[in-house]
Symmetry: D5
Subunit: 123 residues, 10 copies
């Protein structure tokens, strides 16, 4: 089941504005209603706080293991999106973060869910 304790962070390497995007094209969880697997892509887009403000960034391998922990979880699209946002916000407290989940679809309908915190950077 989703395990936020897998997440690790490292200090932001600079005080200047930095925007980071990590995209996992191989996300899978399970539909809680039908028990069938869901497949999608998860994007984590954020602006960490600066080094001088104690800012941290999520470590890449720990993010991978965290995303794998949803593999056998029965969970809806919207809940996946919210949980990733909340777990990463708790870890990093970033200036801005947007989570986008893009699902391959079932029964001819594909879906995109987006959740956000803070103000998107200018660029």
């Amino acid at each position: 089941m989703p395990d936020a304790s897998l997440l690790e962070a490292f200090p932001t390497p600079a005080d200047d504005p930095l925007v980071i995007e990590h995209v996992s094209e191989e996300f899978t969880s399970v539909c809680p209603k039908t028990g069938h697997p869901d497949f999608g892509e998860v994007s984590v887009h954020f602006q960490p706080r600066a080094a001088k403000d104690g800012g941290v960034c999520v470590e890449l391998k720990s993010l991978k293991l965290y995303l794998h922990s949803f593999r056998n979880e029965g969970i809806f699209y919207e809940a996946v999106t919210h949980q990733i946002r909340d777990d990463l916000a708790a870890l990093m407290n970033p200036t801005w973060m947007r989570i986008t989940t893009n699902w391959r679809g079932r029964g001819g309908i594909r879906s995109v869910i987006r959740a956000e915190i803070g103000d998107a950077p200018r660029v």
Copy 2:
């Protein structure tokens, strides 16, 4: 014929801003003038009201069945677009919603129709 009673909703899972897009690539209805089938893609893009405000989201399978109910309806492009908007607005009363229908075209002309309610979210 189009049947809004097929639509079901579930409570928005959170109070934070959320943007959702459902895309059905397999929509078909019938041209009321010629009786020939029309084929297109229907996108439903919306921001539900928050949980604390009693907000709800359209349930995915019910949306699929609702879209199937247009299959043998003689109805123009613009009317399809308006009806989907009105039926989903009645169901969800969302903060913002945009319906886009993208038709494969006939006689060398393809068309896109877009109807909207509310103010599009910042991002």
Copy 3:
């Protein structure tokens, strides 16, 4: 329901070898098991008999109407493919014909079915 009487033919316009392909990207029928619509692409690829041998070719608009007649038929992928092949073979008795149905898929699996009569032309 599928109606072969909609099909019309015209005499092959020449005695030289000719290869013709018609592709309908907007085919739909209904799954007999679930009642859900199926969407796909149907290709008719054939070599008509020569004019001097009384050869005929399927007329394009009649082919369109014939394919539309499957719209509300509950019929499996394989049966669609066989029936189109048999109906067109009865109409044209071509030297060679290949029917390919390419289905958009359901539940994450997409399918292609191919049925053929006669020997494919050299090129």
Copy 4:
């Protein structure tokens, strides 16, 4: 020659904002200088006036026939763009309209011409 009398309109089906785009990928006219054919794509993008304001929308088949009437006209790219804009503005008096002609090019240069009236809608 271009014949605006071919254009027909129907009343806008609603009072809510609606944005419509029709794209003809098969436009052809003749270069008045060389007599060679020009080929291109014509997009008509507009926001009709609302039903309550007596708004109308161009009818799709009449638009097709109107565009065909340029087939043997010797006319420059810019003049094609202006004439379509003026003829459709006279027919519909829309809130906003943009005509874009996208030409396949000759001698290694391809061109896009855009003419507009009114203020583009927010989205």
Copy 5:
């Protein structure tokens, strides 16, 4: 774990040659060495025996469930490919079958594995 008992078959609908391809774009299993998930696409391409010879075809939904049964199995690429081939051959005893597994890759190397039985049909 992989469960061939999930597979079901139905009689080949005709005596004529038929070629069928099912493609699942959402296959996942687990690397037995690292425990990390593997993602890929599985194609099943076959020519069933004719109806008069008692031929059968794999049923689509049962194929989907069978492929899902590899989800948490620790198994190498080559073994996945062989097992699917052997299980489907036992079910259908087809004239010809080719299994292709196409893996998204790890560490910058992506792989394709192909196993086959019988002689590929002419076309």
Copy 6:
């Protein structure tokens, strides 16, 4: 109307095997049944006779003007294909030639017609 007298040829520049393909992406003629314009792509693929055998090749600009001469001709797909083949065969008497016409389609069906003379070269 189609005018083969527009075609010009020049001597094949060598005795060695040469394969030439000319593709016109901007072909248009008129449907004799409906009067509506047809749009498509015409490919001329051939192996000219060698210089020592008095071989000739079609001159490119004359081919363009010849193809333009179909612009207002009411003529079926198959007849366009045959006439281009016959006119170019009369001009060049090539070792091999294949004419392919690829039509953008009407009413959701697109078509490809192929006519050929001689034996296709090895490569």
Copy 7:
């Protein structure tokens, strides 16, 4: 060498706002440092002054010949971009113009240079 005297203009055909883009995909000049040829794409994007203000537009064929005049000129990317902007500005004195040169690259680095005058139109 670049020859602005090749450029010709014609009066803007209307008083309404018009935006024009000409793209030459086949530009070549020579690197002044190495003597090797450079290849790229040149886009000229502009809004001419209105007819009533004596506005003019560059004539397409003269633009082609002007661009060809850089063929054997040893000139850097930035200088090509500036010179085209300055020569066309002198010819047309447009409301707005943007020149974009997009170079295929050498040694694994590709470059885009953009120079502009005036304020970009709203759309």
Copy 8:
């Protein structure tokens, strides 16, 4: 190791606004944690100071050699991005600059890092 002394500059060729983008699709460095190579694309997007203000632009070949100097450096994604930004800012002191590094990914996650100085130009 990264060597900023390889970078050379030349005076901005004009006083007018100019925007330049150099993209190297063949960047490689080494992961300091695993010792495995990282592969990506580096974009340098900037607006140099004007000639009259003593502005300079990075010379293309020197940029290539500078980027090659990271080849065997053990360095994280974020540090690569910052160092290129700092070294080029020290060289050019541009009005605006944005460095984007786009990494091919490992373990199914690909990343994009962006660092910037100054205000992005209007266009």
Copy 9:
């Protein structure tokens, strides 16, 4: 430098014909003439000997490390291709193997080199 001792093998998992392809999209070596880095894609396509004949297959991670060992080697395209073929042939003694190296190119020319041993399998 290229180090064949890094390569490891495992027994072919079956006696049936199997065809395997591994593609590394991130290969780099150094041009021995200029010292500049070369970038390309390396494909290893082979049919291993059967289990009963003592056949073995190259292990994926060892292949990755082996390919990395060319990183700082000054070696021509053709020699890279031959060495990979010879090292893998020595390891596996396969029924058939084809090595294809596809180089991104320098100075506007890109190259593909292919070396092979044994007879390609039927499919």
Copy 10:
């Protein structure tokens, strides 16, 4: 003008069969009829003679300079193709060689010319 003396060769690095393809995407010459530049892509595909038979391969940089020597030559498509074939055949005397020139087209017609010597290799 085309200068075969620019071409250099190096000994084939092995006795095993090797197939090599060099593709120059940036070829330009001049139309001898109109004086306008022609742009295209030139592919050289060949199998060199083995080292033990004194075989040689064309050196890549010399090939680039040789292709540049056509830059200001007035020469037809077919003649370009033949001359490259003859000059490279004289240099290398390969087992097999195919020259393909693919021209961007003028007046809406694009062309491909292919000349060959020897027997194409099995793969």
